[in-house]
Every structure is written in C-alpha cells, then in structure tokens.
C-alpha cells in the first residue's frame, strides 16, 4: 500500500460551509497557513441552501432592537437550555460579522436609507434578519468564498502562489483525526482524508483542527439536509476524545414540501410566513391560533384581525401565531394531520396566494416560486402549498468552550457551526444559524491560530495512518456483503419512525436495538467498483459516523424525561425545571455511547436581569431563582 501524500499546515479546517470558511479566513488573517477540507465542491456546502436570512440586531428597521433583545429571544426560543455565554457572544457580535460581509462584497437587500434591510422571522421580536430575497445562504457562502479568493490573490502578489497560505481541498473528505502524546499534553497531530475523485488518501500534519462539518439530518428519512449531513464532525470529535451535548434536540422544520414524494422534505422557507403566508387545515381554519402555548400567550395575537394588522403595524399589535418558534408550529401541524384535518398528501396548507399580489410574491420569494414551479408544478401565486415537518437542524453538537470553541477535553480541536452544541438550547430560531456560523467560525479560527502560535505542526503517526487506511479499504476486499445504500435507508427509516418528532420510551428502546443491529450489518459492507469517485464507498465510510451519531440521539432522547423544544416525549409531555439544569453529554466508550448528566451553568445576574421574574419562573427552579436574587412567592 503506497503511503498517502503528505501536507503540513498550521491549521486544518474540516468543512467549507459558513463556519469553516469564516474560521479559515480568521486563521489566514492571523498569518497562519490553513487547509480547508470539504466533501463537496467549493461553495456547495449546506450553507448555500439557507434561505431566510442572518439574524443580527443591527436595528436598521426597528430602532428598538439591540443585542439584549436578541439575546432574550434566543434564550426564549431555546427554552433557556442555551449556554448563556454563547447566546450572549452571539447576540453581541452578530452585527459586526454581518457588516464585515458587506465589506467583502455581499449585497444584501436595502432599506430606504441605504442600510441593510431586515425581515421578520419566527421568535424574533423585531425585524432582524439581513437577507437577499430568499437566497441569503448563497450570498453568504459566495461572499466568504470570494473573500478566500481575495486573500489568495494577496498571497499570489506576495508569494507568487495563490495557495501559499490558504488552500481549499474540495471533494476531499476527512476520515480520521489523529492525537499524539499522553495525558494533558495529548494534542492533535494530524488528519487523514481521501480525495473523492481519485480515492487516494492524503494526510495533513497539523496541531490544530477546526471541525465545521454541519449537521446530522441525513440519518432521517424526511429531511431538508443533503447526503453530506452524516455527522462526520460529531463522530470525529468523539473519536478524538471529545463529547457531544444535548443531541436529543433535533429541529423539525414545520414546513417542508410533502409532494411529490421525491422532494418530500425539501424546505419551504419560514419567510413565507414572515411575509404573510398563513397555515390552514383541510377545513380552511387558521389552526395555529389553537396552539399558542402558555409561555407565549402574551406575545402572540389571538385573533386573525390583530394578526393581520401586525404585518403593517408591528409596534401596536401582536404577531401572528404562524410565527411561533419552529418546534411549536411543527407539533401543531403534526397534531392537525393526526386529527385527520390534513391536506391530500399528508401535510397542511400554507398559503400566500390569497394574501399577497403575484408580483410581490415573485419579488420577495423568488426561489420558492421557482422551487414549487419546477419541482411540484405548483404556482404559489395561485394555489396554496402543501407542507409538513421535515428534519432540518440539530441543536445539540460537540461540546465546546463558549469563548474559544475549543472542544472540551481535546487539545487542539475546535468546533463551530451546526456541528457545535450549546448556543441554541433546545430549539434554534430561524436566522440564528447563519449568524452562529460567522460569530463562532471567527472565534474558532482566532483561537486555533492562537493555539498554534509557537508550536511546530504535529506529525501524524505512521502506524495509525496505515491502520486507518487499511480499515477504510477493507470493504473492497470482502467477497460479498451488505449494500451500504440499504443500510443507510434502513437507518433513516428507524430514526424517522422511532426517534422522530414525537418520542416514547418503548419506541426509542426499539430504535437502539435496531441501531445495534445496523452497526453489526455495517461491519460487513461490500463496496462494488473501484476507488475513483465511488459514492457507494463514500457512503460506507460515512455510515460508520452516522451510526455513532444516531445512537447518541436515541440514547440522549431516551434519557431526557421531559418535553422541551426539539424533543417531545409522549410519555413526558411537560417541561420540567429540574431537567432544564441538565446537559446530557455523550461520550464514546469503546464501541458504544455513554450518556452522562452535567450541570448547565446558570447565567449571571446581569443577563438574568433582562427577564422578569414571572418569565424566569416558567423555566427555573426555586433554588435557581433564589440564587439569582429573585423573590419568589411561596407556591
């Protein structure tokens, strides 16, 4: 077996989405060399698909907005399970990160006075999402991509080589992270990856890795996520000795396409609702008015008249319940369909056609119009859409330090973006992901550059490289075995049916049994064909990671005996303040996953002062309230 080609970089960033690219830019701007790895082509990462916008309290549209309001919205949306420090940093730094994009060439939609326009979104008190029509993610990733190119042009001028300090390895998947040393000095020493086009392995000698691999949604059958979302970064972090936090919280976006079957799950952006679209059931009723939960009663309109007035006069009216946080809307749709009031193809109706003139729809929601026209033959300016919940985002993720994004317990590994956990608590607000990528991508990049200061890049251990390569190539050599596509398909079915939107103990126990069986089957995969651009082989590698992560989700979900945000237990329907104090941590123990409980740090008083006692007492225990210096009436 030939030894893999070798490279050496100060920092290796795994993932070329918003988080990865922002981290790489930070590393390069700090004068360090950086390699960026991506499973797909440059500029095609999931970030490209984001539609609605980037949340940042620039207060361009409503001057009352500010980071404190954004912070509160984020905490509320996450049902106070968020890591308060991350939510604080995120709210404070998001505006700066968005403005920075503009100085790199991004062209957001404008307000009358020439500033960045901001739109309404579920859970955000004020219009807060910077956007470009409904293709904001495209604008963001293209801007970052072009920023990378701009830096490469500077390097070309200085060193005569575009790739002197920042190089993108496109279609090059990381399969292993190597650690060297013992005890406290155990540090990253390298990364193994394979080129998808040629099937050849390469190694990177490095002493810092930033994981920015995005989410896990491909483990579910109905999903808005692509083949890339197999949770590689989550698994890599665990294998390196790190842990995942709160993996039970998976966001089911309320509005995915439900028909035709081949596009089931593809996202219908929330801006449809932000811009006036309403949800109705088969009886024509705007059913969301029936589902406003207690904690939000005073923040949402209770009549259609008031809800409709809000679009034009948001200061004096309450917002329509269609804009409740995603978990609420997804559960409501689920309940309507179960009650037999669904649309013909098992969703509900989402209608803008009766609410906005056709040309306004086409101007505000161009890619939605396009998407329904091309994929479903539906003209959304004339007919309602049929929508239903789809797996969309994972709130849980790699456990990191809030300030530096250093993966807990692993020297030299950092993590940002959807792959990291903490910021969103039990439920993410729309628009808070793109800002998350920028804020924490930059922080992770800065911290990685700091970390390598004065270090010589590590050297990946030969023996481990060879062992890993051999292991990944093994499925070529078995005479017969399992088809990777079938295993993935079965896993998706298990997760969808047994660990989906509504969960119960017995189903999840069954899921864990089935995942065990799938793990066993996955040991006997047979890969057909050769090594050059062989998706079957790539899937075989991804599956190993997918199975680990799926087990984490199922195990954490089984452990958390309450319903909160993106985790709904049929057998424990209420929110429990005792559980709010608990983070569930997944670690690898040999081949299997162990879940432990860990205390969630309590926010400090200054931040807590942003909420009134009434609101906090909906979420917190008496002891916590007392610790925050609040007077609580005897229950």
């Amino acid at each position: 077996m030939p030894t893999p080609e070798r490279f050496s970089y100060d920092v290796v960033v795994i993932g070329a989405g918003g988080a990865g690219l922002r981290a790489a830019i930070a590393v390069r701007e700090a004068g360090k060399s950086v390699a960026v790895l991506s499973k797909s082509l440059f500029g095609k990462a999931h970030t490209v698909m984001a539609e609605g916008g980037i949340a940042a309290s620039m207060a361009n549209v409503n001057p009352n907005d500010g980071w404190k309001v954004h912070f509160c919205d984020t905490m509320r949306g996450g049902k106070f399970l968020n890591h308060y420090r991350m939510a604080e940093l995120h709210a404070q730094e998001a505006p700066q990160r968005v403005w920075e994009l503009e100085s790199w060439g991004a062209l957001f939609d404008r307000t009358k006075d020439g500033k960045i326009s901001q739109r309404n979104f579920g859970g955000h008190e004020y219009p807060r999402l910077a956007h470009v029509g409904d293709r904001t993610g495209l604008e963001m990733i293209r801007t970052l991509q072009q920023r990378v190119v701009a830096l490469q042009q500077q390097d070309k001028a200085e060193f005569g080589d575009y790739e002197a300090r920042i190089k993108v390895f496109a279609e090059c998947s990381a399969s292993d992270i190597f650690m060297s040393g013992d005890g406290d000095s155990r540090t990253v020493s390298g990364v193994l990856a394979y080129w998808r086009p040629s099937g050849q392995f390469i190694t990177f000698d490095t002493s810092a890795v930033v994981i920015a691999t995005g989410g896990i949604g491909k483990s579910f059958k109905v999903t808005s996520n692509s083949w890339e979302y197999t949770g590689d970064g989550h698994a890599l972090a665990m294998l390196a000795g790190g842990s995942l936090v709160n993996m039970e919280f998976v966001q089911f976006h309320p509005t995915g396409m439900v028909w035709p079957p081949s596009v089931k799950g593809i996202l219908v952006t929330e801006s449809v609702r932000g811009d006036g679209g309403v949800l109705t059931n088969s009886e024509g009723r705007r059913f969301m008015f029936d589902y406003i939960p207690e904690v939000f009663k005073d923040k949402y309109a209770t009549t259609e008249e008031e809800a409709d007035r809000w679009y034009t006069d948001p200061d004096n009216n309450k917002r329509p319940p269609e804009l409740l946080p995603r978990d609420e809307v997804a559960r409501a749709i689920n309940a309507e369909v179960k009650a037999g009031r669904g649309s013909p193809h098992g969703g509900v109706f989402l209608d803008v056609s009766k609410r906005l003139p056709a040309d306004v729809i086409k101007a505000k929601l161009p890619s939605m119009w396009h998407q329904f026209k091309e994929l479903a033959d539906v003209d959304i300016t004339l007919e309602p859409m049929e929508v239903g919940p789809t797996c969309h985002y994972v709130m849980g993720g790699v456990e990191v330090d809030p300030d530096t994004e250093a993966v807990a317990g692993v020297n030299g590994v950092f993590c940002a973006g959807e792959a990291a956990g903490g910021l969103h608590g039990s439920n993410r607000l729309g628009g808070n992901s793109l800002s998350d990528l920028l804020v924490f991508g930059k922080r992770a990049g800065d911290a990685a550059a700091d970390f390598v200061e004065g270090r010589t890049p590590g050297a990946a251990p030969e023996a481990e490289i060879d062992a890993a390569v051999e292991r990944w190539l093994a499925p070529f050599d078995v005479p017969a075995g399992e088809n990777p596509y079938t295993i993935q398909h079965d896993l998706q079915q298990v997760m969808n049916d047994l660990v989906g939107i509504i969960r119960t103990e017995s189903e999840m126990e069954e899921a864990l049994r089935q995942i065990d069986a799938l793990k066993e089957r996955a040991r006997h995969i047979k890969v057909e064909g050769g090594r050059e651009y062989n998706p079957g082989w790539h899937m075989a590698i991804d599956l190993q990671k997918q199975l680990i992560v799926s087990e984490c989700i199922a195990r954490s979900a089984l452990t958390r005996q309450e319903s909160r945000g993106g985790h709904t237990r049929d057998d424990f329907p209420g929110m429990d303040p005792e559980w709010r104090k608990v983070n569930l941590i997944c670690r690898l123990d040999g081949d299997s996953v162990k879940v432990t409980r860990q205390a969630l740090p309590l926010m400090h008083e200054e931040l807590a002062s942003l909420f009134d006692t009434g609101e906090l007492s909906k979420y917190m225990t008496r002891e916590e309230l007392t610790a925050l210096g609040r007077e609580v009436a005897q229950a």
Binding site: Y9, E163, A164
Partner: protein
C-alpha cells in the same frame, strides 16, 4: 506548499463521437432564421439596384430615403438636397439607394441581436446550443474584421438620423397626391408603422441602453437617466421582436410603394 498530485485524476473530456445528442428539432430555428434573412437580403439587393418605382407622391420607399442623387424625383429628395449628383458605372446610373443603405445595413449588421442571428444561422458558430460547430478555429470578435462590431454605437447614432428622416417621410405622407394636408391613405399608415417600429427597434438597442443609463454606477444619483434606462430595458427585452418586425415592415413598405409607383395597385385613401 506543494500542490497535490493525487487529488483529481488527469482526465480528458468524454468522447461521445457525435456532434450532439439533442433529440429535439434544434435545427429548425437556425434554418428559419437563415431563410428569412436570406429572403430579405435577396429582395433588398434586387430593389436597391432596381433604381425605379421607389417614389409615388407622397410616398417614398424607406430603401431610398433620403434620396440624395440628382436623378431623384423632385418630391423624393430631402428639401431638394442632392449632394451626390449622379454617378455612373459602365453607363448605368448608380442607384441612389446604394449611397445610403450602407448605414441601415451597418446598423443591423453590427446589431447585437442580428449578430447572434447570423453567427448562428449563417456561420453556424454555433448552429444551436450544445451542437458542435464545424469550424476548426474560433477567435470570436477579438480581431479584425469582427472587432469592428464594437462600432455599433456609431451606427446607432446614424440610425437615429435615419429614423428622423423616415418619420418626416411618414409625416409628409399625410397629404394627398396633390400635396394637400390632412389626408390618410393605406400608404400613410404603412409609413407610420414603418417609422414607429424603426424607433422601437433603435430605442431598444443595447448601445442605446448603455448610453442613456447603463454605463452609470449609481442610478440613485441620476434619477432621469435611471428612468430612461428602465424604460429602455423594458423595450430591450423585446429587441429581437422589434428587429424582425421592423425588418419585415421595411421590406413590406418598400414593396407597397413599388407596387403603387409601378401602377400595379392604387394607393387607397381613407379620407
């Protein structure tokens, strides 16, 4: 830092061995364009050399206007202006059309739409999208002679002068054969339509769009030019349509005038 040697296998293009795999009737459009343009060229050439039947008070053929030779009938000249005198070649008088047609011809030859049309239909470069072209070499409009296409805007300016003249021709067609105003004939309507579509064709021109606003960086600081650019952009959307309609009307107008001048049909007056 080294570049990778193992990343992407060095490959060549897929060799399919056929010009195209398209299964639709991709050849139809270039064929129609070819035949239509060819028909016009043949007709216009014949008429330009015919040197006859281009004027019948008050109608003048657009192919002969302005008529600048001494041999032009009196009413056909522009205020009696005949700067070219009469030219002969081998005893034959050179048709007055030949002095002027170079301008409308140049305007259309360098027009961005017609360029597309004849590059595709005549030069087959390419015949249709994703259909291989027959040429071994291709340099586009980078060198002589095709680099001259960049002069299009000057032909556009000239075209505007012609439009004014042809509009004038249409206005004076609101007379009867005795020169009295206030009459409308079929010929009047045809000349008016001709002038109208020539204006639409010229105003929807890409050079026009650039001149009136396209070259600006900040529309917001030039509201009037932005307004003009927006309107021109709307017209520009239909530039191809105006190119064809105006072409057909020019030929039709000429044919009508010819038939009237030759006495084959009367120029019917509505009032």
């Amino acid at each position: 830092m080294s570049t990778s040697v193992t990343g992407i296998p060095q490959g060549t293009r897929a060799q399919l061995g056929v010009k195209t795999l398209r299964t639709d009737r991709w050849w139809l459009q270039p064929l129609v364009t070819f035949l239509a343009l060819l028909a016009f060229v043949i007709y216009a050439t014949w008429r330009a050399f015919e040197n006859e039947y281009y004027f019948s008070e008050p109608l003048i053929s657009p192919l002969y206007s302005p008529c600048l030779s001494t041999s032009c009938p009196e009413g056909a000249t522009l205020f009696g202006w005949t700067p070219f005198g009469d030219w002969y070649l081998g005893g034959l008088a050179i048709s007055p059309a030949l002095f002027i047609l170079i301008f409308p011809l140049g305007f259309r030859m360098t027009c961005y739409y017609y360029r597309k049309a004849y590059y595709r239909a005549f030069w087959q470069s390419p015949p249709a999208c994703a259909v291989a072209e027959p040429h071994r070499k291709y340099t586009g409009e980078t060198r002589f002679p095709l680099i001259i296409q960049n002069s299009h805007r000057y032909f556009f300016y000239m075209g505007l002068i012609f439009n004014v003249i042809l509009t004038y021709d249409a206005i004076i067609a609101f007379r009867n054969a005795q020169g009295e105003w206030g009459h409308v004939s079929i010929g009047t309507l045809i000349l008016v339509a001709n002038a109208t579509f020539l204006w639409l064709y010229s105003l929807s021109c890409h050079s026009c769009r650039n001149t009136f606003g396209g070259r600006l960086k900040h529309f917001s600081q030039h509201p009037v030019r932005y307004w003009m650019w927006s309107k021109i952009s709307i017209l520009n959307h239909s530039h191809m349509r105006y190119a064809w309609i105006s072409l057909i009307i020019v030929a039709g107008t000429d044919f009508y005038v010819r038939e009237v001048a030759a006495g084959a049909i009367p120029n019917l007056y509505l009032f």
